[in-house]
């Protein structure tokens, strides 16, 4: 175990802030996944690929001379229609089937998306430059890239907009109704097919925003989507469905936990430790649930 972080207390601040900023961005992607999972009962394996695709849209803005930050507006619009199209082409056929079928279908989409991106955009790793500069705290001891701060802020703004939309708009109400009971919603005149299409589109749009943010904070590559899928899956598992503050908290919590385990156990155990935590949480949940069931009996 490496105790460097305790010898330099300033690293604790750095690690916490890095983790929180990273976590907020991941939480946005996870929220999209939770929405889709909750409403349509579909675990979207292609989530990461949608993110990367959104990133490429921002990258192409950057290449053609527009600042990549505008990707957060352009990318979700394009991705929304792409998402709706994807629903009409594939997803509506599997939406009422069991989860295994939908996992297979989205897994297929993810492979197809990877290969298509590879043949259209090439296999080079690319980055888009935001040139946002750096924020210094504590007399230059803590450095935070402004691109990361920007990403976190935009993620928060989009999250707030989404929550408001879900709560107050007509479509938002319809989506929530469908999530609670699709059959009842249908009987009461909700066009569930439209709701599903919109949900899939909204998720793709969220991925578009997140992708544009990733283009300016990290790197893009056709095959780098899977870690984002896995990460958002974990956040949702920890937070539970339909629990937005939970998603945000679990995103940040996992981010901070990951940073600290990097300092303490070394970078190679960073992801392993997150998985270990996941296992512990699941075991604990089961334990708690089984107790509850007994009580209910």
């Amino acid at each position: 175990m490496d105790l460097l972080i305790f010898q330099n207390p300033i690293l604790i601040v750095q690690a916490s802030l890095d983790g929180i900023l990273l976590g907020i961005l991941f939480a946005l992607i996870a929220y999209g996944m939770a929405l889709q999972w909750g409403v349509m009962n579909i675990i979207n394996i292609a989530q990461g690929e949608l993110v990367i695709l959104g990133g490429y849209i921002a990258y192409f803005l950057y290449i053609s001379g527009v600042h990549p930050a505008f990707g957060i507006i352009v990318s979700p619009v394009i991705m929304y229609f792409l998402g709706v199209g994807m629903y009409k082409a594939v997803i509506y056929r599997v939406v009422d089937r069991d989860m295994f079928i939908s996992i297979l279908a989205t897994f297929g989409i993810s492979i197809l998306a990877q290969q298509l991106m590879n043949s259209v955009f090439g296999s080079d790793v690319v980055v888009a430059q935001s040139n946002f500069g750096t924020t210094f705290l504590f007399n230059y001891m803590v450095t935070l890239p402004n691109a990361k701060i920007f990403s976190a802020c935009i993620s928060l703004i989009f999250a707030v907009i989404l929550v408001g939309y879900m709560r107050y708009s007509k479509l938002g109400r319809a989506i929530r109704a469908t999530a609670q009971n699709a059959r009842a919603a249908k009987i009461l005149g909700v066009d569930t097919d439209k709701v599903y299409a919109a949900t899939f589109g909204i998720n793709a749009a969220i991925c578009g925003v997140a992708g544009a943010l990733i283009a300016i904070t990290f790197t893009l590559h056709p095959y780098v989507g899977l870690p984002y899928t896995v990460r958002s899956f974990m956040i949702v598992i920890v937070a539970g469905l339909g629990n937005l503050p939970g998603v945000a908290l679990s995103g940040m919590g996992l981010g901070v936990f990951e940073e600290f385990s990097d300092y303490l156990f070394g970078t190679e155990f960073r992801i392993a430790s997150v998985f270990l935590l996941l296992v512990l949480i699941l075991v604990f949940r089961r334990f708690k649930l089984s107790r509850k069931r007994e009580y209910l009996k």
Partner: protein
Amino acid sequence: MKIISKLNVLILSTIISLSITLPGFAKVVGDKIILGAAVSLTGKYSTNGEHTKNGYNMAVKRINEMGGVKVGGKSYKFDIIYYDDESDSSRAAQLAERLIKQDGVEFMLGPYSSGLTKAIAPVTEENQIPMVEANGASRSLFTKGYKYLFAVLSAANQYLEVAIDLAVEKNGGKPVNIAMAFEQDAFSQDVRLGILDAAKRTGSKITIDDKLPKELNDMAATLAKVKATKPDVLVVSGHSKGALTAIRQISEMKVDVPMLAMTHCDASKLAKQHGSKSQYALCAAQWHKSLTYKDKFFGDGMQFDKEFTAMYGYAPPYQAAESAAALVVFKDAFERANSFDRTKVRDALAKTDMQTFYGNIKFAETGQNTAKPMVLFQVICDGDNCENKVVAPTKWASTELVHPIPKWSDR
């Protein structure tokens, strides 16, 4: 009965015609020497696979134009059967089988990447097919006792050793503190082993030894540790993604280190993508156009660079240069063996001792090229216009190494 006998005739005739046509595909047809290669034309290595193929093709064209290969007083021309291995190692091994068993190829060229070369090598070895490879640098390729594998490039552990020597030299011969971050894959871990050797040799101390998970694209924690411990050298290797992530985050977090040594700077188009942010990065390369090695096919590096650019519309990365060199080596070996007998060609390859435009080539017992040093170049920028200038070995240095790297606050 009639049907059965007809069927028999059909089967027999198929067998006979197959047995007649099969040798038709074999190694040498008429005046053509047919080589086999599985190269990644799709999948994650497709860019570098393309460089490899272009390098091979350019050399084939050039050698054929200049009279081909002379064996037994007759002149032969090179031809290559390509298959796309889809950047997948099991596919690559299958294709190697297919090239050997179905197409009857008796001489192979390597694929792109250490991983795929590792997948193909057992197949060529088992079938005793000489393979000259130009893109598999992993040390593990040279520790298995392969007899039919020859690599024209330097092994991965040699990539950044020179950088440590250079840092020690700049430190007045005193040991240095090394921070390093390597991706967890065969190649990068081999580079790491080289650094460990160099640290031991020079008495230097490793202060940070991070192994980056493959799916990681955030090095913030590693870099914060670097800021806190202030090492003399920071070494990073993690393919294109590692190089691009490192420069992005080093520049954003304003990490000051006297020396930054990396791999994959040119494969990731680092200078182009990051502009002046990549300035002063020290990069390992197998080859650089300004080296003064010569051969009669391509002249020197500058000429190769010019002709390759004219032919394919982009400047040759070292992956293309080393691939072209593989064919020059094959030609030389065929002529010295003066035969197409596999064992004779293999023995001739083992005795190779020559200069190509790409560098000197002499194979050790294990098949690795020991005659060619790695070069280090430094990214030097004028505004956002960056160039790679060779700084080591001193023989080819076109500019003095900038050391220590100026602080971010002074840039």
